[in-house]
Symmetry: none
Subunit: 158 residues, 2 copies
């Protein structure tokens, strides 16, 4: 299972093109390496990205609810209508739509940050701030994570 990890900061050229880090392209599932899907991150001024397979799975799980409640209809509409699929050019670059660029405040450089099954694109300084914030919170709650891990592995006695 390939994961998106690390962070890379790439230049947005004057035509609006950015290279998606080769590592991230390589981490896309087989058969889904031609494009990525992106949308506005919730509660963060960043662009959330994943592969098309991931979206298909999310959609399947939404349709699993039968019948769909009004809420679920609204939710899936809001989610799916906000998605953009971008295919790479021959050199692994994409052109991020203006709306998303503005949402994330990206101009000259874009920071690609791994999140496991997804990754995000940030304006570099904004990312640094977010990272500091997030790290503080992680330090606070690290104990909780350790507790869960120990429970999964260690508690398996019987």
């Amino acid at each position: 299972m390939p994961l998106f990890m690390s962070k890379y900061t790439n230049k947005v050229d004057r035509k609006g093109r950015v290279s998606v880090p080769a590592q991230f392209r390589a981490a896309l599932p087989a058969g889904f390496q031609k494009s990525i899907v992106m949308y506005q991150a919730v509660n963060q001024e960043a662009i959330e990205c994943c592969d098309l397979l991931h979206i298909e799975k999310v959609n399947d799980s939404l349709e699993g609810f039968d019948p769909l409640s009004d809420e679920q209809h609204e939710f899936s509409l809001a989610l799916m209508s906000g998605l953009v699929e971008l295919t790479f050019d021959g050199n692994g670059r994409i052109i991020i739509p203006q709306e998303l660029m503005e949402y994330a405040g990206i101009t000259e450089y874009a920071t690609f940050a791994g999140k496991g099954k997804t990754f995000q694109i940030w304006e570099p300084e904004a990312f640094q701030h977010e990272l500091n914030k997030a790290r503080d919170k992680v330090k606070e709650k690290r104990a909780m994570l350790r507790f869960r891990q120990n429970n999964e592995n260690g508690g398996k006695g019987d």
Copy 2:
């Protein structure tokens, strides 16, 4: 399960390459011997290293959180974006990213120190200092342990 133990100091050549000790490479789990994953150690000026399998487990446990919660997003971003996966060249060497080299203060030589399930990479002198500190703490604790044992047996006069 093989463990990372002992310590080795290797040279960083002018291209930034360092050999990962053969013993450490051999201790990587089967199927995960092509690379290691590293990140800034918390509360220490050192690089923390483990195998990719270890990371996949951590990521799985992260996904255990509510996928829509702010917490889950912050955790994954903070942890995963800070990771770097490095694959070995034909001779078992890696190139440590500049940012991590600077964080640990490594220039000419790097000390690999086993920690059991993980290992660390230090600037040699910094490691020596850390080791002295750690040994002092062990002494303290051992004294405390002896004290307890004596207290438990003590009344019985063996």
